[in-house]
């Protein structure tokens, strides 16, 4: 299983705060999960954002970060604090 959260604009555009995905063995890094979600079509194209950012287990990381079953992922737009 994999927990995926969506934050800020993504959460609003998807109308989804978080979901649980059944684990797939071909997911070797975060980008594979992102491609899986985009492949759903429709609103999920929001994740095609070239400036998308992500976190794994509460740490901001790159889309190439490896992952494993049980991880907690988050996708969010380019940050704008400060």
């Amino acid at each position: 299983m994999l927990t995926v959260q969506f934050l800020a604009r993504y959460r609003e555009e998807l109308g989804c705060e978080s979901e649980q995905l059944a684990w797939q063995n071909e997911w070797h890094n975060i980008d594979h999960v992102r491609q899986f979600l985009i492949a759903r079509g429709g609103v999920w194209s929001v994740l095609s954002d070239p400036r998308i950012m992500c976190a794994r287990n509460q740490d901001v990381c790159s889309l190439q970060e490896p992952l494993q079953a049980g991880d907690e992922l988050a996708f969010f737009p380019m940050v704008t604090g400060g």
């Binding site: 934050l7 800020a8 400036r51 950012m53 901001v60 969010f76 737009p77 940050v79 704008t80 400060g82």
Partner: protein
């Protein structure tokens, strides 16, 4: 103070004075304060909302602070950031660095702001008379952060 993420307002002057904290070795303190402006990209702002990613934000800021402490001979570094609804003219963020000499304090304070702007999970939503919208990330912030890249570091 070091790292604080809070919805309560704060007083930048009191925070600045607390940085020296009676440490007789401190020769230089550089601070940055970011305020809510009334105009952004030609839109007239009524209020600002700051969303963040609880827990992850604090970890990201702690990591940025640690990297600054490692890169420069600092005595201390502090980061304070508001979340939730903010009114015009309110301070959003306070960053301060202390050191013996000014060079380290200046560089580290600017470094922390550049990294905070591109790596800490905060998002601004502006409320204008015609509704609210998420603020777009600025490419200039990405470029500012890229200045600090060193060949041996390939963090995102």
């Amino acid at each position: 103070m070091s790292i604080r993420v809070q919805s309560a307002p704060f007083d930048p002057g009191a925070e600045l004075n607390a940085v020296h904290a009676g440490d007789l070795g401190v020769g230089a303190v550089v601070s940055f304060v970011g305020y809510v402006r009334d105009i952004n990209q030609d839109a007239s702002i009524e209020q600002l909302f700051l969303e963040h990613y609880p827990g992850v934000t604090e970890k990201a800021l702690t990591k940025i602070r640690a990297e600054a402490m490692q890169r420069w001979p600092l005595i201390d570094a502090h980061i304070l950031h508001r979340v939730g609804p903010l009114s015009l003219a309110e301070p959003i963020v306070f960053v301060a660095t202390s050191s013996m000499h000014r060079e380290a304090a200046f560089a580290a304070c600017e470094f922390i702001m550049d990294y905070l702007k591109t790596r800490a999970p905060f998002w601004k939503k502006e409320q204008t008379s015609s509704g609210s919208h998420w603020v777009e990330g600025r490419d200039s912030d990405q470029q500012a952060a890229a200045r600090w890249n060193t060949p041996e570091k390939d963090t995102v």
